[in-house]
Amino acid sequence: MNQESFSQIFINACLVNNFVLAYFLGICPFLGVSGKIDTAGKMGGAVTFVMLISSMCAYGIHAFLEAIDAPFLQLISYIVVIASTVQLVEMFVKKMSPALFQALGIFLPLITTNCAILGLALFQTNKGYDFFQSVTYAFGAGTGFTLALLLMAGLREQLDFAEVPKVIRGTVLTLVAAGILSLAFMGFSGLGSN
């Protein structure tokens, strides 16, 4: 059993071991959907939501697979369940807020193939978190993801109006800013250790 407290799990997942900036998970949406603050916030919200749901599902599946002693089905069942969850969320969003659906565009379905979600499920299993720890972990990871996305979007909105040499514009500049952001997040190291 894992002894970490909720606040420790949250701080570690959100700041110290930020999924994007320290674990390199969810880089694709991080590079792809961080152009505008509004979309970034919505994407972050969507990812956090999916993370919470899939974390709960993963906890259930893991318990079930333990019971029937079939660990080799872990990966395949995680991905199937996450894919269906996202599908449901997508349908829900489409119905409830067409505007939001429009804004997230192709990215909602892509959350399925976002390694941050799957990574979360795998990590929580590896770390042996119980149900509430898992949910805290998911919430922390989602918040951290949203935070990274929002910070990046703020910087990029500003950089849209900078005299950046053409060869650097776009992905290169985003990666450099991400690198510096990742350095800045190193300041949080050790925060979650007491």
Partner: protein
């Protein structure tokens, strides 16, 4: 007869008189006492580090401008500030090749890539230092006691490490007040901190001289006083609350104020207007956020000092602050703007 050729310019035809170059030059003047004290305290070592970092920044700026076919912008003095500040944040026996590399990174990655003067979203000097700290964490936490007897007669071997090679440190390395506190629970005397009789980065030791430089800039209206005041006040109040709760566990607010890079950071680095918010209330919030990060990192974090990280995070948050805190446009209601 009247002259026929008249200049045509657009209104307003008056300007206030200060210019970017004047501001930048004055910031350099304001930093000189701090730089001079660091040479006094750490000898030729600090002098070499400061000269190298400044030269490397200026050189990089010049070369990059030339390479990209632009007019060289070194004459606006901003590269000199970046260089001096970088040097001031490094340990006084930091290997010169690393110092040089730091300058190159500060200007090329921290400034040029983002579009040069005015467009950098992070403080260039701190980008340089953050990369150095990430790359060479041992060298950048190898301190040196000030006022060594031989500081004007010999140069530390660490400084002269061959490029790309590990430095060999000679002599004892001193602990900074913050690492002494964090790792050994030792509190340094506040007067020593204020006057700079402690070990630390080249320019962070004398809080008083840094403050004087800041006061000069504020009176000449070259600096936004709200930023340092907001940072220092936040640090003081927050750490004061903890100290009041449990003085045996938490450091005193005065110790917090005068130790480490807080003064240098609050006065000269967080105030870099390029990477800070633009409105009066925006900078107050920015300062409060930086101050909070500093206290959190120092008290609960793994690292003894967090000023650099706090300011970089503050830089990253500034676009959001500018989005959130805007003035209400005249004649509009708050909601409609």
């Amino acid at each position: 007869m009247l002259k026929q050729t008249l200049h045509i310019s657009t209104s307003p035809h008056l300007v206030k008189g200060s210019s970017v170059e004047v501001i930048m030059r004055n910031v350099v003047w304001a930093m000189l006492p701090t730089a001079a004290f660091s040479v006094y305290a750490f000898g030729w070592n600090a002098a070499l580090v400061l000269i190298t970092s400044t030269l490397s920044c200026v050189l990089t700026e010049h070369v990059l401008c030339r390479l990209s076919g632009k007019r060289s912008t070194v004459s606006d003095w901003s590269a000199i500030i970046t260089g001096l500040l970088l040097g001031l944040t490094l340990p006084p026996i930091f290997p010169l090749w690393m110092t040089f590399l730091g300058g190159v990174i500060a200007i090329s990655v921290g400034k040029f890539l983002f579009g040069g003067l005015g467009y950098n979203v992070f403080n260039p000097a701190l980008v340089g230092r953050a990369v150095l700290q990430g790359a060479f964490p041992v060298a950048i936490t190898t301190w040196y006691d000030g006022f060594a007897a031989d500081r004007f007669s010999s140069i530390n071997s660490s400084l002269l490490a061959a490029p790309f090679m590990k430095p060999v440190v000679d002599g004892v390395s001193g602990a900074t007040p913050l690492s002494a506190f964090k790792f050994d629970g030792v509190i340094t005397d506040t007067a020593d901190l204020a006057f700079g009789f402690v070990s630390g980065s080249a320019g962070e030791t004398s809080a008083i001289l840094i403050l004087l430089g800041g006061i000069y800039l504020v009176t000449r209206n070259f600096m936004n006083w709200r930023i340092p005041v907001s940072i220092l006040l936040t640090v003081f109040v927050l750490s004061g609350i903890f100290y009041w709760i449990d003085p045996s566990k938490y450091p005193s607010p005065l110790f917090m104020l005068f130790s480490g890079g807080l003064m240098l950071g609050a006065v000269f680095m967080a105030t870099d207007m390029v990477a800070s918010p633009i409105t009066k209330w925006g900078v107050v919030l920015y300062g409060a956020i930086i101050g909070t990060f500093i206290v959190v990192i120092r008290i609960w974090g793994g690292l003894p000092e967090g000023v650099m990280y706090a300011i970089l995070l503050g830089n990253a948050i500034s676009p959001h602050i500018d989005r959130l805190i805007r003035y209400r446009v005249y004649g509009t209601s708050l909601k409609s703007s």
